[in-house]
Symmetry: none
Subunit: 199 residues, 4 copies
C-alpha cells in the first residue's frame, strides 16, 4: 500500500533541505528580488512547483531562512555569554563568524542573507517580525558587551551602539568577501574587536 509514512517523511525532509540550501545560496548571491523561484528550483535540482509544497511563497522561504539564521546566532551568543568571560565569549563568536566567512561555509551564507534582509527595504510582510529578531540579536550582543564593560574588559560607551558597530563590521566583511572572493582575506577577530578595547 504505497510508501510507508517514514519513507514519505524522509523524502519530504530531503527535498526541503535541498530547497533550503539552494535558496540560501541563491538569496545570498543575488538577493531577494533578483532570485527567481526557477533559479532556486534549478539549483536544488527540482521543479518550481515542488517548492510550493514546502513553502507557501518566495517570501516565506526567504523569511524562514533569515529567521533561522537570526535565531541561531542569538542562541550562540546567549550560550557563550553564559559559559565564559564576555571578552572570551565575543572572541569566540567573532572567530567563528570570520572563519565561516573566510571558508564560505553554510553559516557564512546565512550571514550574507542577514545582511541582505537588513538591506531589503522591500515590503516583505514578515519584515517587521524579522526586525524584532534582529533587534533581539543586537540586544543580546549588547548585554554581553555591557557585562564586559562592568568587568573592565571593554571600553565604556553605549553598549547597544557598540553592538551595532560590531555587527556593521561583520556585515561589511561578509559583503566584501562576497565581492572580492579569494582576493580578500578576512581580518583577525582581534582587528575586528580592537575598537572595543580602545582606551
Amino acid at each position: 500500500m504505497a510508501r510507508t509514512k517514514e519513507q514519505t517523511d524522509q523524502m519530504s525532509a530531503a527535498t526541503r533541505e535541498k530547497i533550503e540550501a539552494a535558496g540560501l545560496a541563491c538569496f545570498a548571491q543575488k538577493g531577494f528580488a533578483l532570485t527567481s523561484m526557477k533559479d532556486i528550483a534549478e539549483a536544488a535540482g527540482i521543479s518550481t512547483g515542488l517548492i510550493y509544497r514546502h513553502f507557501a511563497s518566495k517570501q516565506e522561504l526567504f523569511a524562514r531562512l533569515v529567521d533561522d539564521t537570526m535565531t541561531e546566532m542569538t542562541e550562540t551568543i546567549r550560550f557563550l555569554d553564559a559559559e565564559s568571560s564576555p571578552s572570551r565569549a565575543l572572541v569566540q563568536v567573532t572567530d567563528g563568524l570570520l572563519r565561516d566567512i573566510q571558508a564560505n561555509e553554510r553559516i557564512s551564507q546565512y550571514f550574507i542573507l542577514m545582511t541582505r534582509s537588513l538591506l531589503a527595504l522591500e515590503p516583505l510582510p514578515q519584515m517587521e517580525e524579522l526586525q524584532k529578531i534582529d533587534l533581539l540579536l543586537f540586544r543580546q550582543a549588547a548585554r554581553l558587551i555591557e557585562r564586559g564593560q562592568e568587568q573592565g574588559e571593554f571600553k565604556p560607551g553605549d553598549p547597544y551602539q557598540l553592538s551595532l558597530f560590531y555587527f556593521s563590521i561583520i556585515q561589511g566583511i561578509a559583503d566584501m568577501k562576497l565581492f572580492m572572493g579569494d582576493r580578500y582575506i578576512v581580518p583577525s577577530a582581534e582587528d575586528v574587536m580592537v575598537f572595543l578595547y580602545n582606551k
Copy 2:
C-alpha cells in the same frame, strides 16, 4: 528658428543631471531591482522615454552612477594623499564619509549605491569594468596606507588587505545606518580607524 546648439546642450545636460539625481536617490533607497524606470522618471519629473535618450538601459544608468561615485572617491583620496600626512588624510576622508552617512547626504547615497553595486552580482554587463574601478579605489587607499606605514603612522601588514578591511567597515556602517535609521549613531573616525594603529 530653432534653438542654438548651446541651448540644446544645456537643456540636455540639465535633464541628464535630473535623471542622475533621481536615479541616485531611488537606487540608494530601494536598490536596483526594486527601482523601476517609472520611479526614476517621476522623481526626475520627466517621461520614461526621455531617460533612454541619455542612457541606453537601466543597467547603464546604474553603472554610470556607480562609476561616478568610485571615480570621485578615488580622486578625493588621491588629492588628500598629496596634501597632508597619510594619517590626517585618511581621518579627513573617513570623517567626511561618516558625516555624510550620518546626515544622509548626497554623498552618502553615492556610498550606499557603491555598497549595493558590490552586492549586485547580477549579470550587469559593465560589472567587470566597475570592478576595475573599485579596485582602483581600493589600491589608491592602499597606497595611502602604505605611505602611512612607511612614516610609522599605521601598523604593518599588507596595505591592500588593510584597505579592503577599511572599506568593509565603511560599507557595513552605511548598511547599518540604512537599516536602523535614527536608532544608529555612526561611530567616530577614530573608532573606525583604530585597527590601523593597533599595536
Copy 3:
C-alpha cells in the same frame, strides 16, 4: 492470497461512488474551474491519484456526472409520462425538482450541475455528446407537453420551445437559490407551470 475478483470489484465500485458523490458536491458548489482534483480527493477521503484509476480526467468525471443527471431526469420524465396524465406528471416532476432545490438535496446538486454544464462552454471534448443528452431530456419533456396539448391540458404552441422555456425557469430558480440561499423561497409548481395553461 489475493482478494477474490468480487471483493476487488466491490471495493472499486465503492471508491467510484465516493468519487462521484464528492465530485457532485464540489462541482455543484464551486463550479468546474474552481474545483480542484485535490478538493474532490479530500472530500472523498482518498488520494488524488486514485481518481485517475476511475476517470481519465477531470473533464471526464464532470461529463460523467452531468450525463448521469440528464439520463436520470430523462428516465424520470419518461416514467411519469407513462404513469399518469401529462399535467399531473409534470406537476409531480416540477414539485420534486423544486422541493430538492429548496432543500438543497442531492438531486438539487445534480440540477445545479446541469445548469453549470450548460454554461460551461469550455472545450469539454465530450460536450457535444452531452448536448445530445440534454436534447433528449428536452425532447422527452416536449413529448409530455405535446401529449398534454392533445388532451387539452396545456395551451397550444411549439412543444419543444415550451419545454425549453420550462427548463429555463427551473435553471433560473436553481441559480437564484444558489445565489440567495435562505433569502430565496422557491416558487410553487403552479407558478412555474402557469405559462403552460395561459389561455
Copy 4:
C-alpha cells in the same frame, strides 16, 4: 511636443472600450475563471499588459462590467416605474430584455454576465458590494411590483420574492439562449410575466 492631451485621451478611451467589449464577450461566453487575460487581449487586438493600464486586475475588470450592468438595469427600472403604470413598465422592461437576449445584443451579454456573477461563488473581493447592487436591482423591481399590486395589476404575495422569481426566469432564459443558440426562441414578455397575473 508629442501628442496633444486630447489625442492621448481619445486613444485611451478607445482602448478602454475595446477592452470592455472584449471582456464582456469573453466573460459572458466562458465565465470568469475560464477567461484568461490573454483571451481578452486577443479579442481586443491588444497586448495583455495594456489591459493593466486601464484595470488593476482581472477581478476589477469583471467587477466593473457587472457593476455597470446592474446600475444600468436598476436605472432603467426606476425610470420606467416613474413614467407609466407598473404593469406597462414591467412589460416594457421585459420586452427590452427578451429582445436583447434574442438578438444577442450587447445588453444581452451584460445580462449573462450578471447571471455569471450571481453564480460566481469564487471569493471575488468586491463581490459583497456587487451583491448590494444586485439586491438594489431586486428591490427596485420589488417596489414596482408592489405598486402594481396596490393598483390591482399584479396578484398578491411578497413583492420581493416575486421579484426574485421574475429575475430567475430572465436569467434562465438568458442561459438557455446561450446554450441553445438559434434553436431557442425566447418566450414572449407575456409568458414571462403571466405568473404575476395568475389568479
